[in-house]
Each structure stands twice: as C-alpha cells, then as structure tokens.
Symmetry: T
C-alpha cells in the first residue's frame, strides 16, 4: 500500500485565463509523464502590455506517482 | 455596535472553474446558515485524471454573523 | 542597464470573475501610470449577499518602471 | 489523560480597542460553549469612516475541550 | 460531481507520540461526524513537566464531506 | 458596481499604545486622502530606552477607494 | 561603526492588556540586560477561564546590543 | 570546494507512521539517485477511511549532490 | 499573577525518531534550566547516508519561566 | 513625539550585485523623496541570459517620514 | 503564445559570496539545460568552521522554458 | 550519536555589504562560544542616511553544539 509521488513545479502561461494557464501546464506535463494525480496553485501573476493584461501566469505543483 | 462573526472553512469542488468551485461551497453554506457576509480563498488545487484537469478545488473561509 | 520599478497594491472588485477583478484594477492603474509591466495576485476574497456571491475581490501588486 | 480540543475562528468587532474586540468574541463564544480554554489572535484589522477609526476587528481562534 | 467538504480544526493530546495524538483527534471526530476524508497536521507542540515530555499536542485540520 | 481600492503601507508611532499608533497613522492619511475605507495591522514593534518602552510602532495597510 | 545585536524571545503575561504584557516582558529583560534597543511582537494569545479572558500573552523578541 | 545540490519534492505514503512515510520516499529516491545528502519535511497529511487513519503522507524535499 | 517565560531554540538529533529527537533536546535543556513548561516543533529535517535515513533532526522552541 | 512613516515597494535591477541593486533603488527614491530612513529586502531574484546571470533584482520596501 | 516553464530547486555553495553561490548553481544548471530564464533566491545559509564563515549556501529556484 | 545544537539570533551591522554584516555577527559569536556550526539569514534590512545606504543589517540564526 506504501507508495511515492513526485511533485514538479511548472509555470503555465495563457492569454485567456488562470484556468487555461493551469491547463496549459498540466497538458504539457501529461505529454511526457504518466500517472499525474493532482496539482496545487502556488502563485498567480501576469504580464501587462500597453496598459492591458497580456498574459496570465499560474505557478503550479503537479504530482505524479513514481512506480 | 459590537458584533461577532464566525468563519468556517470549506472546500468547493467543481468540474468547471475556480469561480464555480467557490460558488458551490458558498451556496452549500447558504443552505443552512444565515447572514453569510464574505469569503476568503486560501488554497486552489485540483485533481488530474488521464492527463486532464478533472476537477477544481477551492479552499475558502466563509464568514457569517452570529446573533 | 540598471533600472527601478515601483509596485503599488490595488484591490479590484468585479461582479463577474477574478480575471475581471484583476482587469478592473490593472486598467484603473493604466489610466494614470505609464510603463505598467507585471502584476502579482496576493489575495482573493469576495462579498456574499443573500446567500450568493455578490462580488469578487482580487488584491494585486502592479509594477511599473520609474524613469 | 488523552483529550481533544476544538478550535473555532471568530471575528470580534469593537468601537473601543483590540482587547475589547477579543473580549466581545470570547464572551459570545462562552454564551453557547463550555470549557473555553485559550485563544490566539490571528489578524487585526479595522474600518475607517470619515477619516477616523470606526471599529477594531480582531480575528481570533478560540479553543475548547470536547468531552 | 460537484461536492463540498468542511474542515474543522482539532488539537489531539497524547502521552505517547504525535501519531497517537493525531489518532486521538481523528477518532473523537469520527464519533460524531460521518464521511471523514483526510487531515492535515498544522502544528506540533508539547507540555513539559519536571524536565520530561509530559504530552504531545498535534493541531490538525480534519475534512469531511457535507451532503 | 466595479471599483478599485488602493492600499498604502504606513508606520504609526505613539508613546501611548498600539491603538494610538494606528490612530496616528490613519489620521495622517486622512489629512491628504479621501475615501479611506479599512486598515490591516501587519506588524507591531517598539523602541526601548533605558529599560522602558519608549514608543509603540504599528505597521498598517490603509485602503481607500480610487475614483 | 560595525556592531552586533542579540535578539531573545520572551512571553509576557498580564491580566490587563497586551501593552501591559509587553511591558512585563521588557522590564523583566531590563532587570538583567543592558542596552535593550527594540522589540517585535510575534504572537498574541490568551487564556480563558470560566468564559472570560483570564490573561493576555504577548510573545516578543527583544534586541540588545552586544559590546 | 564550490559545489551544487539539487532538491526534489516527494510525497511518501505509509500505513504505519510519519517516519515510515519519510523512509519510503527516501528509499525510492535512493533507488535511482546517488549522493542523497539530507531531507526536509514540509507537510504532514493523511487519509481517513471509516473513521480511522488509513495512511500517513509526508511531503519532503530530498537534496543530492550534482557532480 | 504577571509572569515572563523565555523561549530558546534547540535542534535535537536522533537516530531513532522525531519523538526521540525532541526528547533529546528537552532533556539537554532540563539539565541546566528549571521550570521548563512547553515546546513547539518548528522544523523537521534529517541526514541521509548511503541511501538511508541516518538521523532525524527536530528544531524546537522550549519555553521556561523566568523568576 | 508621535510621527508617521510611509513605506513604498521598489525593485532595483543591477548587473553587478544585490547590494548594487538595492543602491539603485534607494538612490532613485532619494531623487524625489526626503527623509528616507530605512529599507527591508523582501525578495531577491534575477534574470538569466545564455546560461549566465544577466541581472540581479532586489525587491525592497523603503520607509520615509511624512511631515 | 501559450508556453510552459519548469522550475527546479538548487543549492549553490561558494567560499566567496552569495552572488558567487548563485552563479555556481546557475552555471551548473546551464551545463545541461537550455532556455534558462530567471531565478529566485529562497534561502541563504552558511557553514561555520573554527569561528569563521567557511561557505555561503544559496538556495535558488531556476526556471527554464519547456518546448 | 544523539546530540543537541542551540540556535541564537543575532543582527550584524556593516557599512560594507551583507556578507560583511554576517561576518561581523558570526565573529562576535565566536568570541564567546565554541562549536559554531552553521547560520541562516532570516532578514536583510538597512539604514538610509541623506539618501544613501548608511548600513547593511543582516539578521541571522547561528547554531552551535551543546556538549
């Protein structure tokens, strides 16, 4: 029953929303890792250009099981 | 003029967005408590299934007035 | 190459979403300040009225370059 | 000798001082709970009206023994 | 699929170990609440008497599903 | 209904008490700013002189509405 | 011009107020240490007895110059 | 004498104790990495099933030297 | 009724468990100090040697009454 | 004897060192503000370009007296 | 425009200064990773030997773009 | 193999740099204590005089073994 997960830290960037920024990061992780299990949002930032929000940046930790 | 509020901690879960996860928790609280006044988001997490975001989890504190 | 940025702290309020609350604060800042460069979300709160979310409040720090 | 305490989070509001705000919250808790044992102040805030402090708000955790 | 959990904060006290202090708190919670799902240890303290550890105190948050 | 507040950080110093230190800072802010709405105490410090408390220092954030 | 300060951590207990709890701790420190310079309040707690505040506890760090 | 360590974040899960959860994670790391040097426990959580602690979860950072 | 406690910070090291690491530190403090009253665990770390946990390190604050 | 300080948050950027980044920010502040009194470093970051540190970024709070 | 960065945590050790400790870590990372973009200093520690600073240890997070 | 370290908190002040401020504090500690082992920087502040940095202040914890 004992098992181990690894957490990695990613920054997803999106022009649309924080949900989309998280999705971008999670799907990038899923492209190379199996067994993704949960994520935690640790920071929300963004870039401003010409007085408008140019991008949403979500810093997340993604956990996956290590076999 | 003196008064007292109580804060409780809830975790709302939604398949749609963080706003929806907060809404789910607030409306559940409103079903049994009167005088809900404000909330504070303290954590944002989520579950991943088959490489995609399966649910958004918002941890919130909800405050309501005690008579 | 040396330069200096100033960060100010704003609270944006919106009836729609946290992205909209951030946008409201950033655009208000852009009305009087030039060189806005990035922002950081430091708190997410909200007001409840009659058991429903009445407004989303996003506390952000906005950074702009000082000439 | 093993025992369990529960902590609840309250916000006391007073027009006088922080000590009075804490007292307001503790006495409200004491009206319905027995065995109150200690408290911890976690936040101190206040409301301003017409340029003056209108009220002191003390956020506290109150612990009481569960039988 | 949307659902809501509530978290309560407890302090378990044991003369044996931190695991036992957590167990004491979880089992007390289980006596009156259904659907306990997870816990988080937020503080570890203890009392000293005559130069020896007299008790272990574990502050935990316990989450359970609200129907 | 959308609106924006700005928070500024002040340190009030008083020889009397923390409530007086906060009051000193809030009233100084009120002398030049309109629409002060709330404050948050973020630090409490003090100076000692000849073994006695010489002054109370309250670090606060003061929020006011931007039109 | 180089110099060094040491900080020690004390808990002052008073039946009157937090200012008095800090004063109790500072004056105790002053009885054996010279060159006390400043203090920082790091926690505010209290004991409750029979539903009323029985004592105010202020955790402070006190700094003094080392010759 | 200059050197570099890398820290990775793991979650060890055990049905026995926190020490065993940490051991599970450290030994999993040791199976593929050389030069493990120290660890830091950053979170302690657990799962509850039928009113009893079903597993202990220790979140740790493990550091190892990079050649 | 007014009184003062001092807190000191210790790191206990044990090859057995965190409870034993805390015990090692508390008993060392008790060898030279009277009136030890409580402790708080602030960090849990450890050393790894040849892929196994070589020691548990518990950072604690120990409080004792000053007469 | 009562007085008030204001703290502003700046980010100094330097290609040389953190001390130089702080100096850049403090001197920029001194160009338009009188009575600068102290600063606090709250974050240290940097930009990397082609595998080398391209700039040091020091986030500081600068305090000055308000008359 | 959407993109993803990964952050890794490193500890650079130098006998000279914190800037040198950061440089040591960044250059080690650059030896195997492309697209290093920024870093954040999260801890500053050091080792003492025979009463003198023997080494500076900088814990940093380094971010690089994932293609 | 079991052993105990004590940590004390010092503030080193230097007109030159943070490394020098840390060195000042460590060497002061070494003048009266044996077995100094490591230090942790917990705060970096400074004093400004006539618009220039007048001193660097490093708050550190210094650990030494207790026999």
């Amino acid at each position: 029953m004992d098992r181990v997960y690894k957490k990695i830290e990613l920054v997803g960037v999106s022009t649309v929303s924080y949900e989309d920024a998280v999705k971008t990061a999670v799907e990038k992780a899923a492209a190379t890792l199996h067994g993704l299990s949960w994520f935690e949002v640790t920071e929300q930032r963004g870039r401003i250009s010409e007085g408008k929000i140019a991008e949403y940046q979500a810093v997340i930790k993604v956990a996956f099981r290590i076999d």
